[in-house]
Symmetry: C2
Subunit: 308 residues, 2 copies
């Protein structure tokens, strides 16, 4: 479809660190992103798990610039750039292209509910047209439990027909494998890259022609998830998947974003990481202790994280 | 509770005009707001019906500045300032205070679903604390069909206990009178001003101690709605309410925001008004004709609107 190298594999919707004043902390952010890259995990910064919609566009641009300024490879970045406001999405997407990001993950505008595919097509089309960059690679983001505005097969079909180079793939965070498989069956052969929304479906996704996964728990368990991506055809892949599912299962027993941050705070020996922006709330001390105990019981570690 | 004059009566979540390039049109906006004030209707700019979440913070600040610059009275303005991002809400609320707005209508952060009242309390509290202005009057905005994040009695109780001066009231757009009545019963006597989310409940709201209504259809039917507010104790109020319900019923048979704009385009003789920003779509010509025919059948007019 094009000769720009495509993003593939495992990406982390990188959690965003905040100071005590709730301002984003670029130093912690760069440290975390560098660690994730060292674990063979790409950077889907500004995702749902990044509290991205709790950040202004200016704050996101500043964080992205800090990553690129620190020498991290923008080709491995797929920032979330879909906002409610067309002008915000255009501004953030254009900035991502300016600094050379390998792709962007784009939520539909999510305030109005029950909007038509015509309206969503026009939303994505206006961003693509206004950014006007042949290198743009858009991954549409289906996450109905949160955004409540779904990405349908019909919408992707229309977008691909009109923008075959720019519409590169999707992330499916609906949690419904049959939906993911529907997109794979319809579009994978045409070069549309489907990322599962969690490692729960990583092996299945690869077996049916998918491109990898973008998963909350890649923030804390990156190398084992990336290893399954690298070795999914090998013997033992199912056992690897089962182990990943156990660790994810622990995190899913807690509110996910605060739990990811609590694990980073503990294993990175950096208590400030536990801070979340409202409307989220941090784990209670009792919840944190329970999480760490459950992880310890699974011999969970985060090698190489500590030592900022 | 305080001696700052409170906003009361009927307000319009003013629809936002866009040019052919989808940029907000400040001239049409000023014209429309001036007309609404002349019809005895206040300006709840940047509401749901304003496509406010389809605008960037910069675009909203520019539009607000243009209204104030044109000499419209900021004491009659209650801009929507609640965004997903804390920093956006703070910036927009602080600007509204700087130019002297009589109040602000504040959505909860609406991206994350199922958030706790603790998290929502902290969201509103952070905005109030960071804006740090004793004149601030916050009206919390309950619109679960769209935002999907409700405002509960318990949340308002906590906010009022902590910020009795700043937490001034609410808009209830849930469409459930029993919920509105619950808030009136609990807080109206303490000076908490409850605005119904449409004129459908205006008479009931006044009879139970409410402060007025903030209604989509106040964009197009302002004077008759404001008249019911002024005369709700008089004989004939129920007949007035019934007439309002008929006109609202016509609009409710169409997608509301495009229908409001189509009516303004027709009765204001200004076709450009029909433009909406994605993800919304304008009425089709057939829908527009059907709307206008239904309104004509009800002898609906918009006196004084034409002639920009």
């Amino acid at each position: 479809m094009t000769d720009v190298p495509r993003i593939a594999g495992v990406l982390s919707p990188v959690v965003t660190p905040f100071g005590a004043d709730l301002a984003p902390d670029p130093e912690r952010f760069v440290h975390q992103c560098r660690w994730l890259l060292s674990q063979n995990v790409g950077l889907a910064i500004f995702g749902t798990n990044s509290e991205a919609n709790s950040l202004s566009v200016d704050e996101k641009i500043e964080l992205l610039d800090r990553l690129v300024g620190a020498g991290l490879d923008p080709a491995r970045m797929m920032p979330g750039t879909g906002c409610c406001a067309l002008t915000d999405s255009v501004r953030l997407t254009a900035h991502a292209m300016k600094v050379g990001c390998g792709g962007v993950l784009m939520l539909p505008p999510f305030y109005y509910k029950g909007v038509s595919d015509d309206g969503l097509f026009r939303s994505f089309a206006e961003v693509i047209e206004r950014v006007g960059d042949a290198r743009l690679r858009v991954y549409v983001y289906h996450i109905p439990p949160v955004a409540q505005v779904p990405i349908t097969l019909g919408l992707v079909e229309r977008l691909l027909a009109r923008y075959p180079a720019q519409v590169a793939g999707m992330k499916d965070s609906g949690g419904d494998w049959s939906n993911t498989k529907g997109f794979l069956d319809a579009f994978a052969k045409a070069g549309f890259d489907v990322f599962a929304g969690s490692e729960t479906f990583l092996l299945q996704n690869m077996r049916y022609g998918g491109a990898g996964c973008i998963s909350a728990t890649a923030n804390v368990h990156p190398e084992p998830i990336a290893r399954l991506y690298d070795t999914w055809r090998a013997e033992g892949a199912d056992a690897q998947q089962a182990r990943l599912d156990v660790i994810r299962g622990v995190f899913q027993r807690f509110p996910m974003i605060p739990a990811l941050k609590a694990a980073i705070a503990h294993h990175g020996r950096d208590a400030g990481w536990a801070t979340v922006r409202p409307p989220l709330v941090a784990l209670t001390p009792a919840q944190s202790s329970a999480l760490i105990a459950e992880l310890d019981a699974q011999r969970f570690t985060m090698p190489g994280l500590a030592g900022r």
